[in-house]
């Protein structure tokens, strides 16, 4: 069936082209995580004599899973809080709290995650909790600011029309403001996710599970190969999620280029 083939091929090609930003990091990541040992000859020269070339104390898939869990949980919580706060302070009744909310979100970004870790350990002990707290605080600001920006760029005439044809305040918010602000909000979440993927590595200094373990092990034993493995995998994860969120953003804003 030549006709079918002729239409199927460009479609598949277009799909690959659109998703290449996601697929390339994904494939590289899978390769690195599952077949790290095939790189042994390459990494040999970076390893001190007698030391292991490939990190073996835990599987990379496992570490990636833990790393992502940390990021997803903290950014989910940060999104929930930051988006809710931005919605509240963008309502007429909450406008008074805008400066306060803004300075709190800024504070989260200003405190270095390392300092947060150091402060959190005495309070909640070693493990994943201090890392979650640090990532959560660090992730608030981009999401908060982008939600505010997204909501404020909805043209007043559109909100007035929505109100004028009989939508209540919640309906205007859910059916008009949030859908229109969504691409910008997603951009904020994307920024926070990418920052967190990188920042989560230092969580390993307080015994949070994640890819930071590999890098820290490398630093402690002067093993450049370990540092490279951990670093490259983290970088690929960041690229993967960046591309994934960009795809979501472009799909969302497809219908509404006004």
């Amino acid at each position: 069936m030549p006709a079918l083939a002729a239409t199927a091929t460009p479609n598949a090609f277009r799909f690959l082209l659109a998703w290449r930003g996601v697929l390339i990091p994904l494939l590289l990541l899978l390769y690195l995580a599952l077949f790290t040992s095939t790189l042994t000859p390459l990494l040999q020269s970076l390893t001190p004599v007698g030391a292991p070339v490939i990190y073996i104390r835990d599987s990379f898939i496992n570490l990636i899973g833990w790393h992502l869990l940390l990021v997803v949980l903290s950014i989910a919580a940060a999104s929930l809080i930051a988006i809710t706060a931005a919605i509240l302070v963008s309502r007429p009744s909450g406008a008074d709290f805008l400066p306060l909310a803004r300075s709190l979100a800024n504070l989260g970004q200003t405190l270095p995650p390392v300092a947060v870790l150091a402060l959190a350990v005495p309070a909640v002990g070693f493990g994943s909790w201090p890392a979650l707290i640090a990532l959560f605080l660090y992730g608030l600001l981009p999401i908060f600011e982008n939600t505010l920006a997204g909501l404020s760029q909805v043209r007043p005439e559109i909100k007035e029309a929505a109100k004028g044809i009989g939508m209540g305040p919640m309906q205007v918010l859910w059916r008009v403001e949030l859908p229109l602000a969504l691409p910008v909000i997603i951009t904020g979440v994307r920024l926070s996710v990418i920052i967190s993927i990188g920042t989560a590595t230092i969580g390993s200094t307080v015994a949070a599970k994640g890819l930071g373990e590999v890098i820290i092990a490398g630093l402690l034993t002067d093993n450049l190969s370990f540092i490279l493995q951990g670093g490259v995998i983290v970088a690929l994860m960041a690229m993967l999620f960046d591309a994934l969120f960009q795809r979501i953003e472009s799909c969302l804003s497809l219908g509404q280029n006004s």
Binding site: E157, E160, G164, I165, Q171, G255, Q256
Partner: protein, 316 residues
């Protein structure tokens, strides 16, 4: 019937609308006209409670609008503003379906209504229903805005400068369509404009506002013949008044029997449904004091002379 009684709105120090009394009969178009900041939009928004009056009442069919939830009230009143009020993230279909869905119509009812409205506005369902607003021209967007306002079969429609952003040709065409639809559905329209031509073309009653006060409310003919001194006179235009007055009447009103004139093949002809203003323009252009008047089938049904026009276009 809509009645505004002693309607006043004060914003801080400024009185935007000052003790306004106005009555609009059912099935009529009322144009609120004035310069920007004269309070016409504020007045309009007090009718659907987008703005609450400082004092005074609005009665719709004798019932005080404060007895209804604002949202419930607004769903019963069509509301159309300049085309930019469409929801950019929703298709034409979903834009039109907004109010029926708020009123929990079944999806079959919604679907049928969207078809009807696109039909009414002479827009092809398959071409337009699933487009997004940014893909439409200004005139098409405005039509959808009107369709959305009409979706839940309101008896009253409020329009805030609905044709303000359109080019003159499109504007004139849409004004014609609006008037036709309004006559067909028998709805009441209150419309805000700053364009006196638009008000004269569309309205049964023109309410002139300045500085928050209603200066004069009258039919277009009355307003042109007897404008109050000052702002109203300025607005309706000095010399141009005569032409605007002529534009209010169809040629049919002044047709005389052909026997009174000597018509021959060279006498220019004109359609009976055009206005007296068109007839005068044709007479000037063709340098002919008499025109043959023809009906829709092209048959001669009389004649119109420049003398008759002179008697109709004058002041008192």
């Amino acid at each position: 019937m809509i009645e505004l009684q002693g309607l006043t709105r004060v914003f801080g120090e400024r009185t935007a609308v000052d003790n306004l009394n106005l009555r609009v009969e059912s099935g009529q178009i009322c144009a609120l006209i004035g310069t920007s900041g004269c309070g016409k939009s504020t007045t309009l928004k007090m009718i659907n409670r987008l703005i609450e009056p400082t004092s005074g009442t609005v009665l719709i069919n004798g019932e005080d609008i404060r007895n209804q939830q604002p949202e419930q009230l607004r769903r019963r009143i069509g509301y159309a503003i300049q085309g930019i009020g469409l929801f950019p993230h929703r298709s034409v279909y979903d834009n039109i379906a907004t109010v029926p869905r708020l009123l929990n119509w079944s999806s079959e009812q919604v679907d049928q209504r969207v078809h009807e409205l696109l039909d009414l506005l002479k827009m092809d369902f398959d071409t337009f229903a699933h487009q997004y607003p940014h893909r439409l021209s200004g005139g098409e967007q405005q039509r959808i805005g009107v369709a959305r306002a009409l979706a839940a079969r309101p008896e009253l429609m409020l329009m805030d400068e609905p044709f303000g952003a359109l080019d003159p040709l499109t504007r004139e065409r849409l004004q014609g369509e609006l008037k036709q639809i309004q006559r067909m559905l028998g709805i009441t329209i209150i419309l805000v404009t700053h364009d006196i031509e638009e008000a004269i073309r569309l309205a049964d009653q023109i309410a002139v506002m300045d500085g928050g006060k209603l200066l004069q409310a009258a039919s277009p003919r009355e307003l042109l013949r007897n404008p109050r001194e000052g702002f109203v006179s300025q607005l309706v235009g000095g010399e141009e008044r005569a032409l605007r007055l002529l534009s209010l009447s169809p040629i049919a009103d002044l047709v005389q029997p052909t026997e009174l004139f000597e018509l021959n093949e060279d006498t220019p002809s004109i359609d009976a449904h055009l206005t007296l203003r068109d007839a005068l323009a044709r007479q000037l252009w063709q340098r002919s004091p008499v025109l043959r008047v023809v009906d829709a089938n092209g048959a001669t049904c009389g004649a119109i002379s420049v003398q008759e026009l002179l008697s109709a276009g004058g002041g008192n």
